[in-house]
């Protein structure tokens, strides 16, 4: 079951990609952090720190065809991404999580490419949010 990040809890604002998911909904993120921009930056730092180990886990799972590991890794990334209101990453991670849950890994490479593309778009926006040069 696909979760509708786009419309379920927060309004859309701008910068849609792919399947009309937003890469980062900053207005929604400000709601999540109670209007505290510094906290949003702190969360972005943590999210960026965790991206590499999370993607490593997902890549290993895909390479080894390990559905259980894929489900767990993709679930972890989806949760963080949803909290960051990074909808396109959350949606791409959910697609991989669903594959892992079902054990049906047909098309997993394409789903992984979609996730990598979404992360590539998200990363600079999160870096900007951290205030780092």
């Amino acid at each position: 079951m696909q979760r509708r990040y786009k419309s379920s809890r927060y309004p859309m604002s701008h910068n849609e990609i792919g399947e009309c998911w937003e890469d980062l909904d900053e207005a929604a993120l400000l709601v999540v952090v109670g209007g505290n921009r510094a906290l949003a930056g702190e969360l972005a730092v943590l999210f960026l720190d965790d991206i590499e180990p999370r993607m490593k886990e997902i890549n290993i799972a895909v390479t080894e065809g390990d559905a259980v590991r894929l489900r767990a890794g993709a679930h972890a990334l989806r949760g963080s991404a949803a909290t960051m209101t990074a909808q396109s990453v959350a949606a791409a991670a959910e697609e991989l999580e669903t594959m892992g849950l079902s054990g049906l890994l047909d098309g997993v490479q394409r789903a992984l490419e979609k996730l990598n593309a979404a992360i590539a778009i998200l990363r600079p926006r999160l870096v900007a949010l951290t205030g780092a040069p």
């Binding site: 979760r3 809890r9 927060y10 929604a28 709601v31 999540v32 952090v33 109670g34 505290n36 906290l39 702190e42 969360l43 943590l46 999210f47 720190d49 965790d50 767990a72 679930h75 972890a76 989806r78 949760g79 963080s80 949803a82 909290t83 960051m84 209101t85």
Partner: protein, 120 residues
């Protein structure tokens, strides 16, 4: 103001919840897995409430909730469940296990504050 234990393996969510609760004046303890969480839950003096992720690796939040509610030392502590993906059956199940509230991720601060106020 209350002492709240936050049990979540996700550092982003844990930092978010911790920061929001501290801004409200609460004292917050954190645990990043079920084992740590159960240890912290049994501390003396006891915490006033627990915010618990239902889906953690190496021991589900449901198991943790069961253990909290089965122990005489912790059974009276209100538990607020956080979940990124829980259906209505799952919500009913954790409520039957003793959860006081079930909140969806991404978190809405007002929902967290309201659930905590109601639970305390």
């Amino acid at each position: 103001m209350a002492t709240v234990l936050v049990v979540d393996d996700d550092r982003v969510v844990s930092h978010l919840v911790t920061s929001l609760l501290r801004e409200q004046g609460h004292k917050v303890l954190t645990a990043y897995d079920a084992v740590q969480g159960l240890m912290q839950a049994k501390r003396t003096p006891p915490v006033d409430a627990i915010v618990l992720d239902i889906n953690m690796p190496g021991g589900s939040g449901e198991d943790t909730l069961k253990k909290i509610k089965m122990s005489t030392r912790t059974s009276n502590i209100p538990v607020i469940i956080l979940s990124g993906s829980i259906d209505s059956q799952g919500q009913e199940r954790v409520r039957m296990l003793g959860a006081d509230a079930v909140l969806s991720k991404p978190l809405v601060p007002e929902e967290l504050f309201a659930a905590l106020t109601k639970a305390l």
